[in-house]
């Protein structure tokens, strides 16, 4: 009986790739926690207008630097307290989630698209084009990302948009190198030769045949890229080179709170916690994705 069952198991079709992936991923509890937190933050960001108890710019002049609700003098009107001009911390944090996720999405989309394009084309064509692109990427990698981003912001001027652009440029080399490396291993394989024999053109070979097989490391890098993007944007905001006040960006909120460190710990603590948990969630999910997608680790 048991033998019969086993044969049937062998005969049945392999699980759908996504299902297989989900099985590995959901086994990893920490990665799942990270993923759930990302969903939570995304929900907050999307529904910010409905959830946030107050507007992000609304100032309550009679409630300046109100402590959080569990402390003496706190009220439920402002659950996490207010800042130096009487704006509700919680509402600003919720609206800030919108900006941070937006930064992540735009940075990752821009750098992923450009990185795939440059990486695949240079890996596929090779020769001088490849050498030139890769040297350029090496130069960019030699600089610390924050310094390079600061240089770019100096040229473009400080604003959230320019910070996003600067970060997208700074993280580009990672995607280019990953895409190129996987193209080089993939393009020598039989299935690519087979499509070429069938008459597929260079464009089709690069983006339809090879690209889907190079996606796994790129997806992992993109997830981890979210955390870098959010962290760097916050750092730039903190240095006054990213989002400008009164925009409720978490890094910029911290920078404004600096002078109240000694008087009101909550204006400093909560924006940082928000950055920390969001970045950590993306890192956890990214590590989990790597384990689930990496064929070498598969049991």
């Amino acid at each position: 009986m048991s033998e019969y069952l086993q044969t049937e198991n062998l005969l049945s079709a392999p699980p759908h790739p996504f299902r297989e992936f989900w099985q590995y991923f959901s086994e990893n509890k920490t990665a799942l926690t990270g993923f759930c937190f990302i969903l939570f933050i995304t929900f907050m960001a999307l529904a910010a207008g409905y959830i946030a108890p107050h507007g992000p710019f609304e100032q309550y002049r009679d409630a300046i630097l109100t402590p959080p609700v569990w402390m003496e003098g706190g009220t439920w009107t402002f659950p996490l307290g207010t800042d130096d001009v009487g704006r509700d911390m919680l509402s600003r944090l919720i609206h800030g989630a919108r900006l941070s996720l937006l930064v992540g999405v735009i940075v990752v989309t821009l750098s992923l698209a450009a990185g795939i394009l440059l990486g695949i084309v240079s890996g596929y064509i090779g020769g001088y084009f490849e050498t030139m692109i890769m040297r350029l990427m090496d130069i960019m990698l030699a600089l610390p990302s924050l310094l390079l981003a600061m240089a770019i912001v100096t040229i473009l001027g400080p604003s959230l948009e320019n910070a996003i652009l600067a970060i997208a440029i700074v993280v580009l080399p990672h995607y280019v190198r990953l895409a190129r490396a996987s193209v080089i291993t993939e393009k020598a394989k039989d299935y690519v030769t087979a499509s070429r024999v069938c008459g597929a053109g260079a464009f089709r070979l690069m983006f339809v045949v090879i690209l889907p097989n190079c996606m796994a490391p790129l997806i992992v890098q993109a997830t981890l890229g979210f955390s870098t993007a959010i962290l760097d944007a916050a750092a730039l905001g903190f240095l006054g080179m990213g989002a400008q006040p009164p925009v409720p960006e978490w890094g910029a909120m911290l920078a404004n709170a600096l002078q109240f460190v000694q008087r009101a710990w909550w204006v400093v603590t909560f924006p940082g916690l928000a950055i920390f948990f969001t970045v950590m969630a993306f890192n956890l999910a990214g590590d989990g994705l790597r384990d689930a997608l990496d064929p070498k680790l598969k049991r």
């Binding site: 040297r135 350029l136 090496d138 130069i139 030699a142 600089l143 610390p144 990302s145 924050l146 310094l147 600061m150 240089a151 912001v153 100096t154 040229i155 001027g157 955390s227 962290l231 916050a234 750092a235 903190f238 240095l239 006054g240 080179m241 890094g251 911290l254 600096l258 460190v261 000694q262 710990w265 400093v268 603590t269 924006p271 940082g272 950055i275 920390f276 970045v279 950590m280 890192n283 956890l284 590590d287």
Partner: protein, 359 residues
């Protein structure tokens, strides 16, 4: 042909050594040659910075606005901005090679000299941050690797992920809140208490205070160093702990470790001598590569703690639109990082023979 066979042993045994040395030299030369395009790329970036920033380069460099056309033309000729781009770039490179990086708009001091005065502060901070990271990270990684799956392992991995995700500017604020404001143990900012006036002989506060004979100055300088070092060392600490753990795990599965165990060596000896030595090779590289992380982190850490180093100086220069300083600062910091990375790579080639024999 026949002559060689007369003494077959000598050439056979000396040859690998000779070719090994040759390979090593080739490896070093190739690695040194690789930094030239990188250096050119960075000079191109800093050179073009001044031309890409919105505004007239002449006014930007001279730091004057609303100047008369005559003065403008004079300045333009003075600064060499009337020449073709290529000539300007060649002049820029010549200036760099002579240690001339222009003058700061704000202080009117040569940028190179300003950098040199401030750099010891950054170096001192980075040094202690690295020491902090290595002293904690190396043992934590080793124990986590040896006791894989234990509670300690999970805590180290969790904490290192937390450290890796930490916005260090916020981490610094938290530490200030707790240790300086709440407990009052450490000073909030600066390099030394305002009570002391120390002549900057070497620029390294700890050395200068020791030489100054002022009572308590050394302790004060040390107390000022603690929090910034912890903040700056946090990310390297996380990276080193993770790297040490995974290197240990890899090495512990090797045959020679099993052999060492089978020989009956004590577990301590197997781990500290047989395994650790080999696990250290990638760890040393990672430690070396933290220079970039440290210098970038110094920008944030110095801003929080009002630490008078090059990181804070660059941020201030950008905010003051002191472009010659920004230009020079970026160039000098990135050159430093390139040189350190070069040194690490070369050291790696020396420590790990596989690298140079591969290619």
């Amino acid at each position: 042909m026949q002559v060689i066979s007369l003494g077959p042993l000598t050439p056979r045994f000396s040859e690998p050594k000779f070719s090994g040395q040759l390979l090593m030299i080739k490896f070093l030369l190739r690695r040194i040659a690789m930094i030239i395009p990188t250096f050119i790329g960075i000079t191109l970036l800093t050179f073009s910075l001044i031309h890409m920033v919105p505004g007239d380069p002449v006014e930007l460099i001279a730091g004057e606005r609303g100047i008369t056309p005559e003065r403008h033309a004079e300045l333009k000729a003075d600064l060499g901005l009337d020449k073709p781009m290529l000539v300007q770039y060649a002049n820029y490179i010549r200036g760099i090679l002579h240690g001339n990086l222009g003058k700061s708009i704000v202080t009117k001091q040569p940028v190179f000299r300003e950098f040199l005065t401030l750099f010891p502060a950054t170096l001192e901070l980075s040094f202690f941050a690295l020491i902090f990271a290595v002293i904690l990270g190396l043992p934590a990684g080793i124990i986590a690797g040896v006791r894989r799956g234990s509670f300690f392992d999970h805590s180290v991995m969790g904490l290192s992920l937390a450290g890796y995700s930490m916005p260090i500017f916020w981490w610094g604020l938290l530490l200030i809140l707790f240790f300086s404001v709440f407990l009052g143990w450490t000073p909030v900012s600066g390099r030394i208490s305002a009570l002391f006036w120390i002549d900057a002989d070497t620029g390294f506060m700890l050395i200068d205070t020791l030489r100054s004979n002022e009572k308590g100055a050394f302790i004060s300088a040390l107390r000022h160093l603690i929090l910034p070092s912890i903040v700056l060392g946090t990310i390297p600490l996380a990276v080193i702990a993770r790297m040490t753990r995974s290197a240990m795990l890899e090495v512990l599965m090797e045959d020679y470790v099993r052999t060492a165990r089978a020989k009956g060596l004590s577990p301590f000896r197997v781990i500290m001598v047989h395994a650790l030595r080999n696990a250290l090779i990638p760890v040393i590289t990672v430690i070396g590569l933290q220079t970039g992380v440290l210098l970038a982190g110094a920008i944030l850490t110095e801003t929080i703690f009002a630490w008078p180093g090059v990181g804070k100086w660059i941020v201030e220069s950008i905010n003051r639109r002191d472009y010659p300083s920004v230009q020079g600062g970026i160039l000098l910091i990135s050159s430093l990082i390139i040189l350190v990375n070069l040194a690490v790579d070369m050291l790696y080639g020396v420590v790990n023979p596989r690298i140079r024999h591969n290619k």
